[in-house]
Symmetry: C2
Amino acid sequence: MTQINSNFLNLQGSYLFSEIAKRRTKFIQDNPQAEIISLGIGDVTRGLPEAVTKAMHAAVDELAVPGTFRGYGPEQGYDFLVNAIIENDYKARGVDIKSNEVFVSDGSKCDVGNIQEIFSTDSIVAVQDPVYPVYVDTNVMAGRSGLFDSGIGRYENIVYLDCTAENDFKPSLPDRKVDLIYLCYPNNPTGMTLTKDELKVWVDYARENNCLILFDSAYEAFITEADVPHSIYEVEGAREVAIEFRSFSKTAGFTGIRCAYTVVPRELKGFDKDGSEVVVNDLWNRRHTTKFNGVSYVTQRGAEAIYSAEGKEQISGLVDYYMTNARIIRDGLASLGLEVFGGVNAPYIWLKTPKGMDSWAFFDKLLSEANIVGTPGVGFGQSGQGYFRLTAFGSRENTEKAVERIRNLSL
Amino acid sequence: MTQINSNFLNLQGSYLFSEIAKRRTKFIQDNPQAEIISLGIGDVTRGLPEAVTKAMHAAVDELAVPGTFRGYGPEQGYDFLVNAIIENDYKARGVDIKSNEVFVSDGSKCDVGNIQEIFSTDSIVAVQDPVYPVYVDTNVMAGRSGLFDSGIGRYENIVYLDCTAENDFKPSLPDRKVDLIYLCYPNNPTGMTLTKDELKVWVDYARENNCLILFDSAYEAFITEADVPHSIYEVEGAREVAIEFRSFSKTAGFTGIRCAYTVVPRELKGFDKDGSEVVVNDLWNRRHTTKFNGVSYVTQRGAEAIYSAEGKEQISGLVDYYMTNARIIRDGLASLGLEVFGGVNAPYIWLKTPKGMDSWAFFDKLLSEANIVGTPGVGFGQSGQGYFRLTAFGSRENTEKAVERIRNLSL
């Protein structure tokens, strides 16, 4: 009998967005006339920047003929893209990253999901709550979570770092020994950030307590405030303790063409069973080259084009577009007396449900009375109960219409 | 102290193709005038078919504007591609596959590497020897291999199924209980195949002994003989015991743009710790949707185009081109009195090194005296010692030149 990985049986229900899709589909079946506005899943809606499509067309043409055809590329990404990343995302901010520290991939979801593989299954994992479900689910699959306690809605061996309005969404340091800390800033789902000094507290903690930070910075491009770091490596000492994940998905509309990257500094060390130091970069390189075969050449040329002068201008236009939506939602809801968070350095608005409503009850109310799909905060964790996420990724027209509809609700 | 996954420390040396690249680079440094012909790594060299590039250009244009922009797609692949796969690769051969049994991915290397995750780490794994290194290395990483015995050059807990000229490269059934059997047909690296009756022996064995077959059929498009099955599901009962991996990499020149798929029939069952049946398709679906976010829309449109009338004709031309190369190599070497295998239903020629030379010694001789890069058989396992792989993926000109150069060697 072939035994399965029984850890999978500890996974809870279906993925948050499947449940949303199910309720949405049912509502549409029952109300075929309803004009639904989706501000739920964090997917972009604008077209790809022209610089990107131009580069992709040129790349397709290169692949059409033997003289310029390219087959397997370096699993870690082509130099042209790795160098553009280093120059523009790091060197321009005074951060020195080497080319063998950058691993181009087909998405941050894959990278943040796969990174745990290179660590011991005994590692104690800490996550923010609310949290992007992939961090937790991939550790459940690997056997690090222990059982799910349905009474409290949490896994017994995961350390949850609560982020609520009470602590301004800034979690306290772990109250027990942990090995791996997932931090996401600008945060999904709350849209909140840490200043450089606040992030330094975490880097110092990791250095003093021999743990590692897995820093998801997929929304970095949306930062507008000066004291919010764009990279964890802007903080002194972070190279010794942090892996950083970046994505082109939201920055440049790459959700459908897939490109991201992960930085693993050479200074980062783990320990084997005998307590000997192991260079984590070597492990990730081995994992990446053994189980992955590089990102589409066409996509990589598209990503490179983001860093051209034309590309930068177009990206900046895209980010402005979405951040204007964010302001419209934020200001609109605030003017109704709702408590709103995020939306200043991130394309997410996190709101406290009115009158202490349960997240899913508010979801149903918004869907049935305003025909708006959002994301129930509790879907991201227990500390998200009573909160709700709206995204700024819709069209301007729909965003304005959505705010108008909410204005007409009795809340 | 953050502990690493110590199983990684059991991995042996660097990946085969890194060692080849190292020796090649050194040779070029020492002999800058040498005109190297590479028949080593199995990478294609022709341009993408016109039907594919046309479809990719159209897809890029769709992504350029909000009206036709597509962001996140289904993780399992778009219906347009899944349906084309089902109709053309299966229904046309009398095999019935449902759409929820097909999982489109960014490469078979990823899929055959990741599939082991859904099974218990206690599973006993059997592989053919010689073998594609990814099957073994990913099981080492997961902790299924036990330690490497450098005396015999094998991992203690992996069951190796020898494939040599003595058994016509048709392995015997395992001599002890195994849970997962990796079979690759048409085989990489030997280029050899099984007939339908021979494959049925394995399916029957798996059914009788409660084990599963992981069937890698990346080279299916190169089959020319009528009694060689294109899919394991042509064999009765295979739906209960086999997962099949297919790739567009070699068929259509997709090595640089990344697309493959995996079929997991709903009948396939594993068992949990209590002996209860678990539907393996559900596990893989959960793994795929949690750690992966779909293949580039542009690539998927390119893959769909392979199944158009125009696309099929162009693919057939590509396959003919490479298989003519295969015949040139095979016949050329055979005429020199070398013992050659494969090359009839696969783009690989597997040859016995002359005078019982060691595989790496023959590599060095071929590199230094004929300036040809091939792949030492022993790099694929102990049973590959004394063998050597040449690929048919070069240009016609280089392929003919390579055979001519070998003709002039003193062997």
